[in-house]
Symmetry: C2
Subunit: 366 residues, 2 copies
């Protein structure tokens, strides 16, 4: 696999250019409403004095960092506000590789393709550890893959693309492996608000100098385009990450930070619960229809995605484009996520037309 | 000089914590109004459908890229929308160093400190070429410094911190030197709307496969905190830059792009002219007072900055902090900009209290 340019935008553009109605199940873009307070925050910001349109502190607005620190049980000094989880993961992986303890980044297979892409860009090499059929990662396999060469272990739970949610023992053990090998566990928890199983465990629960937690408001507040995320570093790793953030981006967009802070403060748990309920319904609708179509599939314990396998229709980019043109459903090719899921397609449940999509698939593969 | 963390934020924070009234002449933050259409654009965005809160295309909103392309006389395919000029310069310098034609980045002395900081972060080495007392760069000196090792030549006109504006011959020759040595000229033109001399020349005027032009709306629209900029690449260099942009930031903030597009379309030349007039007045006010104080100084032909030298008061960080505490004026230490201006202080004319600041300096150094 080449990971230089993750395929998401390519497939989305292909679907948009198609000569027919296409149901978009490609992107991880929520199709539901952002919190009202997020919209209100942008309106408020638009009328502020000119001073408020200027550089925020490079590491982020202090009030936002304090709000996050209080919620996550860390010191505000450990928090850097980033241009989404994308930059947060980039900073975390760069920090791990800059420690000069090794050049290898342990990733899962299947994998979210930005991680291997970032690894190459940062001069590291990938080492993949297979997950099981449900996407669960066995920490013993990670320990076996780890060595003096290991700079980082990058994981994502709830997981894209498998929908797996790692239990507490897994996360505890992953932190332990990172400590044993003087590596850094990078725990990308951007789908934490979409744990449908109640089994989610944050790496922040295990205090350690060897783990960095990344997150964003892109999914939880349905604002992937606003670009506000954060990374939480151990105290001794944060200064260097702040330097890189400053040298790459100077600072994260201030209207976005302002609106997110307002939304954090004013949005109750019902907003998040309603979105989880919506997703739960869509999982049932979609998998029922896949059953009817005789397809094999995974039932997500978290995140937005269902992986499905149709007989004789492997998950290549070519087949994804054919499905767009001939069935009017756009998914992601399994091959985009590594070698282990090349037979599979990934469908994101972020459209109100989940049932229709499933019916189109059933008809097409009938 | 260590450039790992440019000093701007440090000095700003020191000034904010001071136990007295301090006039802030540290940052390059305009203190005037953003265009009304920018505020209107944010309001409009805040009420759009949820889909508009999701990822824009990674390289930027097509309408914005087309608007920029039409204004700058390039193809929209060459334009990447970035998180301010900061990311634009980062992408440009990374692209130049990734060509593996050499490891050296030619910079001016004095220099905007983010450039040497980015160079180190990207694994390059700096080679400085001195400018003259007015900040003018002699292309013959650049040619002499250039070699097989030269990956990039990074220049900034109108210049921060000197206020120099490079004439057409200089820019033409810099492009020629980049071509001769198969290097990349990175021309940071973020102050192009603040050419007070009428002599500004964009590197885009000289068609070449060896120059990248970077810019942003941070200064021209007085929105340093919104973080919308762009880079224009030669066609054969753009794909790789788009990959890096995607792998680092995924995309640039969409509310910012939306509002900037609206402001670009609806803001007339009078907005920019009024801001230049304001700056011209401030230059006269400040330099008159410096004359009265017997200080040596530069009169900017562009950008926001006046460099001043006071007898027996070199431009160290320590002296800058003393000036904050004892005179109530915050500037930047000349030593932050390289070896050639260690005797100088830099004052940004982005406060309505320019006259008062000059009087405080005159009294303090009397």
């Amino acid at each position: 696999m080449e990971y230089e340019t993750p395929l998401f935008f390519h497939v989305m553009q292909y679907a948009k250019r198609a000569d027919r109605d296409v149901i978009d199940m490609v992107s991880g873009n929520p199709d539901w409403e952002p919190p009202q307070a997020l919209r209100d925050g942008l309106h408020e910001y638009a009328d502020l004095e000119p001073e408020q349109f200027q550089y925020p502190p490079s590491e982020g607005l202090l009030e936002l960092r304090e709000e996050i620190a209080a919620r996550r049980g860390v010191d505000a000094e450990q928090v850097v506000i980033t241009n989404g989880a994308g930059e947060a993961n980039y900073l975390a992986m760069a920090r791990a590789l800059e420690r000069d303890r090794g050049n290898e980044v342990i990733l899962t297979d299947p994998v979210y393709p930005y991680y291997p892409g970032k690894t190459t860009m940062l001069g590291g090499t990938q080492r993949f550890v297979a997950t099981d059929d449900e996407g669960q990662l066995d920490p013993a396999d990670v320990r076996e893959a780890a060595s003096e060469e290991t700079a980082a272990i990058v994981v994502n739970s709830p997981n894209n693309p498998t929908g797996a949610v790692y239990p507490e023992e897994t996360v505890r053990e992953l932190v332990a492996v990172a400590e044993e090998y003087d590596a850094i566990l990078v725990s990308d928890e951007v789908y934490d608000h979409f744990d449908l199983s109640g089994e989610f465990s944050s790496a922040l629960e295990f205090d350690s100098d060897h783990r960095i937690v990344t997150n964003a408001y892109s999914k939880s507040m349905a604002i992937t385009g606003v670009r506000v995320g954060y990374a939480i570093f151990p105290p001794h790793l944060v200064e260097n990450a702040k330097s890189r953030h400053m040298l790459v981006n100077v600072a994260t967009t201030r209207p976005g930070q302002y609106a997110v802070l307002q939304a954090l403060r004013e949005t109750g748990p019902d907003y998040y619960e309603a979105n989880r309920d919506l997703l739960r319904e869509r999982v049932v609708t979609f998998t029922d229809a896949l059953d009817a179509a005789g397809a094999e599939y995974t039932t997500p314990k978290g995140s937005f995605y269902v992986m499905a396998r149709f007989d004789g229709y492997p998950g290549t980019l070519e087949n994804v484009e054919r499905l767009i043109d001939e069935a009017g459903v756009a998914g992601m090719p399994g091959e985009a996520f590594g070698d282990s899921r090349t037979a599979w397609l990934r469908f994101a449940l972020v459209t109100p037309r989940v049932e229709e999509a499933a019916e189109r698939l059933a008809t097409y593969f009938d």
